[in-house]
């Protein structure tokens, strides 16, 4: 193979950036619940796909895909609150939350399959046909929307945690919940709020999945590994972490695929994870 063209490199960089943004968006809710609530919520991926299917269904009924957020986000917020209430009610530990949420995943996957069957579903929308040309490079609108949403949500959450009283209270809970409670922080209420937000973010990620991908229930698990890597690399509870890490992973995978054998791409992301964990084991 000769030297790759600048167009190839540029297009691959863009591709990596966009898929990295999706990793980040998928990882945002997971990182917050893991880092701040000490709950490893595997069901986050199933919720994202449930969100994708709901978006598909509502768009099929004539709703604009972006407008479906008006339905999906509050519904998922409520689901997230309910899930956390259940986990808190039974005092489920961090490790056990992994097992319980795996159970939720299986239930949600079965529900998706029951309603929409296991067959492939593709949401056709006007957004899918739009792309912009920037010199020799192309930028597709669905991917741009994903990047925009990932950036907006990550920055909003970061600003909320850093600059608002509620955000600071949330960070205090993550640091030491009993002491935070002793200082008057409503641990229970804020935990429910955060869980609701995490699930709502999964719903938003679902919209992005539906805009760009064909859906099948079995694909829930295809995203687990790389998103977990993004969350761990980005630092648990850090709202900007999954996005930055996701983009690093996405771009490194894309450049690997552009310059060498595409089959080596997963090697890159997981090698990065191993190196970072070895260098900074205190990340988790």
């Amino acid at each position: 193979m000769g030297l790759p063209s600048l167009t190839l490199l540029g297009q691959s960089l863009l591709s990596g950036l966009f898929i990295g943004a999706l990793y980040g968006l998928l990882g945002l809710g997971l990182s917050l619940s893991w880092g701040m609530l000490r709950q490893i919520n595997l069901a986050h991926f199933a919720l994202a796909f449930l969100g994708a299917y709901l978006t598909y269904q509502l768009a099929g009924a004539g709703m604009d895909p972006l407008a479906t957020l008006a339905v999906v986000v509050p519904f998922f917020f409520a689901l997230g609150v309910l899930m956390h209430w259940l986990l808190a009610r039974f005092s489920v530990s961090a490790f056990n939350s992994l097992l319980v949420s795996f159970g939720f995943t299986a239930i949600i996957e079965a529900l998706i399959q029951w309603i929409w069957t296991a067959d492939f579903r593709r949401m056709e929308s006007a957004y899918g046909e739009v792309k912009f040309r920037v010199g020799a490079l192309y930028v597709a609108l669905p991917e741009l929307l994903t990047l925009a949403m990932a950036l907006a949500l990550s920055l909003l959450v970061w600003a909320w945690l850093r600059h608002t009283y509620t955000g600071k209270a949330m960070r205090a809970i993550a640091e030491d919940a009993p002491i935070a409670a002793a200082f008057g922080v409503d641990v229970r209420g804020l935990s429910l709020l955060l869980s609701g937000l995490s699930a709502a973010f999964a719903g938003v990620a679902g919209l992005c999945l539906a805009l760009s991908y064909t859906l099948a229930p079995g694909q829930i698990y295809a995203w687990l590994g790389v998103v977990f890597a993004a969350v761990m690399l980005g630092g648990l509870g850090n709202p900007l972490g999954p996005l930055v890490a996701g983009i690093v992973i996405g771009v490194s995978e894309a450049l690997t695929m552009a310059l060498t054998a595409p089959a080596w791409a997963p090697l890159v992301s997981f090698s990065l994870l191993i190196v970072v964990l070895l260098a900074r084991p205190g990340r988790i």
Binding site: P4, S5, T7, L8, Q11, S12, L14, S15, G16, F18, I19, E109, A110, Q113, W116, T117, A118, D119, F120, R121, R122, G128, E129, K131, R133, L137, Y138, A140, E143, S212, Y213, T214, A216, P217, G218, Q219, Y221, A222, W223, V226, G250, E253, A254, L255, M257, A258, A261, P262, A263, A265, P266
Partner: protein
Amino acid sequence: MPAANQSVRAVLGALLALALAAQSALAAPSGPPVRIGSTLALTGPLAATGLVHKIVGEIYVEELNRKNGLLGRPVEWVLKDDQSRPDLARTLYEQLITVDKVDLIMGPYATANILSAMGVAQRYNKVLIHHTFGTPSLAKYDMQFPAGGLAGDPDNTIPRLVFDALAASAKPPKSVAVVTSKFPSVHFISLGAREAAKKRGLREVAFLEWDFGNRDFGPIAARLKDAKPDFVWVGGLGLEGNLLIDAMRKIDYMPPLHFHLFPAPGPLLKAAGGENALAATTFEEHAPFTDNPVAVEFIRLYHERGAKAGLPDTSVENQSAISYSSWQTLEAAVSGAGSLDDKAIAQWLKKNPVDAIVGRLRWDGPFNYIYGTDLYKVKQNQKGKWVIVWPKEFAAPGARLITP
């Protein structure tokens, strides 16, 4: 004369009685059911295609029971969900044989699960008819019978089929890119495509492999665009071809011709960018396949049941057809052997071909595979419909391979 009339009436009466008795014997099967056990991927990543096989199996068993069943006995299909997992398929086949004590077994869906079932079948000396085994070199069990129409050397037969079709087209390609998933069954066939292209003097401008489950096809699409092949061989399974087409469209690129090895046919048919895509098949809903009344009836029933099951695409194509053919094979073998004995059924199959809806199936080669030839054809997505374009004798009426 009166005596002669009486004799005639007696004979006619006897004949009528015999005819009525024969009809009532055919009216409904009776006795203890013949239990046929199998698993399918009813959940998990393979469930979309597993559902197709489930519908076909239900149709076939119902039709069997509407006629004379198997050996005059009703048929009961004992179906379990292997969740797309080969380890679970193995356990369930053990269960079907030792606990459920089924009379016969039928193969599951997809290579890995069939391989698991084959190991169990071998342990218990059960005959195993299967349809979607993609790695014939691994089928070393003497009583396994592939009914999917694939040759023992698909890495030779399928590329030859495709390149013959291209060579006979109005604009044969001069350069080729081979891009493939590393999923075992598609990978080795795609390597065969590389060899075939080289032997025909085609210039290989790109060879790319990705891990099964790859999500980002952007860089692969960009490399194809840079390479500018006349023809792209996509060794993709399920949605991989669709993902690649999506990625290519995003950068405003489509290769002049592209072939997809084992695509999910419905999504590829409907995909923007899927027009004129080529794929492999054993059956499509047009002549000469629809000259067969059995196929016509199956098509009608499948449309009905597929719509009821909520399938987005209810046309009979490769998966549903080879599934039906495997049931036809089982029925023919049991009837032919006159027995439910697995060894007798196996011996019958080795000596007798079966005319299924996909064509004539036979098993008189090494490990019951035929080498050098198969029942596959090349189809093309033309105006939102799959039509066979090669070989010419199976092409849809008036259809030809559309080249740019």
